[in-house]
Amino acid sequence: MTETLKISNLHVAVEGKPILSGVNLTIHRGEVHALMGPNGSGKSTLAGAIMGHPKLEITEGTIELDGRSILEWDTSERARAGVFMAFQRPMAIPGVKMADFLRHATTNVRYPSRKEGEQLIPMREFRKELREKMAQLRMDEEFARRYVNDGFSGGEMKRAEILQMAMLRPKFAVLDETDSGLDVDAVKLASQSIAEIGGAEMGILIITHHDRLLEHNVPDFTHVMLGGRIVETGGVELARELYTEGYDQVRARHPEDAAIEKEMTSIEKKVASGAA
C-alpha cells in the first residue's frame, strides 16, 4: 500500500473563528499536488494544521498518516514521522548556527526514537552530506556557519527551507508559498531543487499563486481553495487557468463559497501574522 496523508472533513478555527470548514485531501507518496486560491482562503491554515500549530483548533475531522490519526501528536512527533512544512515566513534563531541546528534536526528526524541528550549523527558524516546538498542547491558553504534565518534575505530564507527539506527527507512536504518574494531565476532554481529532492519518494503539497514553481514539479492534481474549502480539483491545466485568468471564474462557479470567502478575508488578515 502506498503511504498516504489523508485529510478528511477538516474544520479548523483560530481564536474561535472558523477558517477551514470541511477540507478533504488525500496525498500519496510520489504525488505532486498544487493548492491554489486567493489570499485568505485558508491555504496557510491548512499547512499549519498539518504541522500542528498550537494556535489552531481542530473542531472537526481528521488528519491521518498511513491510517493513523496525527491530531494528538506534538509538532515534533509529526516531524519525526516524516511530515515537513517549508514556512512562508521562517523564524530567525539568533546565535544558533545553521549547521548545528540542522545536525540536531536531521538526527532527530532520522532516528525518531532518539532521547534528549543522546548522540547526534557523527560530525564528519553530517558535514559531508550537508556540503553535497548545499552544492546541489548552489549555496555557499559560508551559509552553514550563519545563524538560522538571522538577517537572511527573502531568497536565502526560502533556499534554507529547501535545504532543510533536502536534509530531513520527509515523506510528505507542504511548501507554503516557497516562491513568494523570489525573482524568476530563484524560483526556477527552487523549482528544480524541489523536483530533484522530491522525486518519487515524497508527497508534495505546493501552495502557490503562480505556476512557475510548478514548471519542474508538474502537479498530478490542482486544488482550488475558496472560503475555507477545496471547491475544485483538476489537473495541471487548472493551475495554468487560475494563473492566467485569476479566481473570478471560480468564484462565479461557487457563489456560496465566494460569499463565505468575502466574510472571512477580514478575519484571516488579523491572524495571518500569528497563525502561519
Binding site: 506534538d74 539568533p94 546565535g95 538560522v148
Partner: protein, 473 residues
C-alpha cells in the same frame, strides 16, 4: 569512605539543575574551625592563626568597625543573613600542597571530580585551589616563575610580599566602600595574589577554583592582581558549593590594577548552590591605553549582587564587561557592571545577557559615569533579557551620569520572551520543546560564550543545559 558522592537530602521537590556533579559533600577533618559568629575576638583569632603582622590585624579590626557601622544595602535583593550564625574561618589542612599528592586525599578527590588537575595538565599556566578558607594547592609554571610572575594565595603574599600587599590592599576597594567589602576586609582568607612584571605576556590562563564544602560556612577570599606595563594575563575563577538546607555566604573582594598598555581579562564561571548569598565587590583601575575585561557567568545562588567595575584613569584606557546571568526558581541575580570614565578618550562597552526561568528573577543594574573633562569618551551598554515563562521576571536599572558634553554614550535594552512561533518552527524540524528552548537559549548567550576559551565555553554550555533540563512543565 573519604568522599561522599551521595546527593544531599533536599526539601524542595524541584531542584533540577542542582542534581549535578557539583552537588556532593566531602567529609573532612578540618584543622581549625573558628567558632560561629563575628566579633573582635574571632577576627583577632583569624589573624593570629595566620601569624599575620600587626598592620594586617589592625586592618581587619578597623574593617570590622566599619562593617558594624554600615547599614545593609537598601537596594538589590532581599538579604536574610544572621551574621552570628556563620562560621567565618575554617582551615582545612596544615599546609598548602605544591603537588596534588601533598593535598589531603579527600580534598584532592573533590578537585578531581571538579576536573581541576586534568585541566591543569591540559591548558593552564597555574592553578590555585581553595577549599573553605584556605588555598590547599598551588602551582605556577616554572617558566613564568623565572620571569618574575607572582601567583600565590593572598595569605602567603602577606608573609612573602608584605610591602606590596600593604601598599595596595584596600586602595581600590576600601572597607568603607560597602558593608560586604568591610566584612571581607575583616575576615578575609585565601584568594589569589598575582603580579605580572612589565612586558610579560602570559599565554595560558591562570585559574583559581573556590569550593565551599561545609554548612553555614562563609567564604571570604580576597584577590589582588597587578598587571604591570605592557603585560598580559587571563585569570579564570570557578566557584561551586553543595546544596544544604541552610544558607551560606560568599563575599569576595577583587582588586585589580592594570598599568599602562597592559591587558587583563578576568573570567568567572560560578555555579553556586541555591542557598548561597553571593555578594561580591570587584573593581579594576585601568591606566593609559590598557584594557580591562570582565567576563562574568553567574549561575546558581539564592541571591547574587555583583557589579564588576572598571575605572578608566588615563587616556586610552578601555573597559569591557560581558556578563550572563541565569536565574531559576528561588534565585535572584542582581548583576551588572560599572564603568567610570575619569580621563579623556577612554572607551567602555558593557554587554549583559540574562535569562529568567521557572519563577527566577534577574536584574541588570549598571552605572555608566563620565566625569567632567573626560572628553571624547565613548560608552556603549547593551542589555538583553530573555524570559522563558510568565512566572519569571527581569528588570533593568541603568544609571547614567554624564558630566561632559563631548562624549558618546549609548544604551540599549531589550526584553524578549521565547516566542511560540520560534518554538513551533524548531519543533517542526523534529526538536522537542525542551531541545528547542535550550537551543534558543544557547543562541541567546552565544555572543558571550564565544569569547571564552574553548574549554570554558564547553563548560558554560553544559551548565546552561543543566539549568534548562526539565524546563518544560
Amino acid at each position: 569512605m573519604a568522599t561522599d558522592l551521595q546527593t544531599m537530602p533536599l526539601d524542595s521537590q524541584d531542584v533540577l539543575g542542582e542534581i549535578n556533579k557539583y552537588n556532593f559533600v566531602t567529609e573532612t577533618h578540618g584543622i581549625f574551625k573558628a567558632r560561629k559568629g563575628l566579633n573582635e575576638h574571632i577576627v583577632s583569632e583569624i589573624s593570629e592563626m595566620k601569624r599575620e603582622p600587626a598592620w594586617m590585624r589592625d586592618f581587619r579590626l578597623n574593617a570590622l568597625k566599619v562593617f558594624e557601622s554600615k547599614p545593609m544595602p537598601r537596594w538589590g535583593g532581599a538579604i536574610n543573613i544572621d551574621f552570628q550564625d556563620i562560621y567565618y574561618y575554617l582551615k582545612p589542612t596544615t599546609h598548602q600542597g605544591k603537588t596534588w599528592d601533598d593535598v589531603p586525599q579527600e580534598i584532592k578527590e573533590t578537585f578531581d571530580k571538579l576536573g581541576i588537575p586534568e585541566a591543569e595538565k591540559k591548558f593552564l599556566a597555574g592553578v590555585k585551589a581553595q577549599f573553605e578558607s584556605e588555598v590547599v594547592y598551588g602551582s605556577l609554571s616554572e617558566d613564568l616563575a623565572k620571569k618574575g610572575v607572582i601567583f600565590t594565595d593572598t595569605d602567603t603574599a602577606v608573609r612573602e610580599h608584605g610591602d606590596l600587599v600593604r601598599e595596595y590592599i584596600g586602595t581600590i576597594i576600601p572597607p568603607e566602600d560597602n558593608k560586604f567589602a568591610a566584612l571581607n576586609s575583616a575576615v578575609w582568607s585565601g584568594g589569589s595574589f598575582i603580579y605580572v612584571p612589565k612586558g610579560v605576556k602570559i599565554e595560558f590562563p591562570l585559574q583559581a577554583y573556590f569550593r565551599i564544602n561545609a554548612e553555614r560556612m562563609g567564604q571570604f577570599e580576597r584577590t589582588f592582581i597587578i598587571v604591570d606595563e605592557g603585560a598580559e594575563v587571563h585569570y579564570v575563577e570557578g566557584c561551586t558549593a553543595p546544596m544544604y538546607s541552610s544558607e551560606s555566604l560568599h563575599s569576595a573582594v577583587v582588586e585589580i590594577i592594570v598599568r599602562r598598555g597592559a591587558r587583563c581579562r578576568y573570567t568567572t564561571i560560578q555555579n553556586w548552590a541555591n542557598n548561597i548569598y553571593n555578594l561580591v565587590t570587584k573593581r579594576a583601575v585601568a591606566y593609559g591605553d590598557s584594557l580591562m575585561e570582565w567576563i562574568d557567568g553567574n549561575l546558581g545562588s539564592r541571591l547574587t549582587m555583583k557589579y564588576p567595575a572598571v575605572y578608566m584613569m588615563e587616556p586610552g584606557a578601555r573597559g569591557e564587561i560581558l556578563s550572563i546571568a541565569f536565574a531559576s526558581k528561588g534565585q535572584h541575580q542582581d548583576a551588572g557592571a560599572k564603568v567610570v570614565h575619569c580621563a579623556p578618550h577612554t572607551k567602555s562597552r558593557i554587554i549583559s545577557k540574562s535569562i529568567s526561568k521557572n519563577g527566577g528573577r534577574s536584574s541588570y543594574r549598571g552605572l555608566c559615569k563620565v566625569q567632567d573633562g573626560a572628553v571624547g569618551s565613548k560608552s556603549s551598554v547593551v542589555c538583553d533579557a530573555l524570559i522563558l515563562d510568565p512566572r519569571s521576571r527581569s528588570d533593568t536599572y541603568p544609571y547614567i551620569e554624564v558630566e561632559e558634553q563631548d562624549v558618546q554614550v549609548e544604551h540599549e535594552a531589550s526584553v524578549s520572551r521565547i516566542g511560540e512561533e520560534q518554538l513551533f518552527y524548531l519543533k517542526s524540524r523534529g526538536l522537542t520543546e525542551a531541545e528547542a528552548s535550550s537551543m534558543i537559549v544557547s543562541g541567546f548567550i552565544e555572543p558571550l560564550v564565544k569569547e571564552l576559551p574553548m574549554e570554558y565555553a564547553v563548560e558554560m554550555n553544559r551548565l546552561i543545559e543543566l539549568q534548562m533540563e526539565g524546563s518544560v512543565g
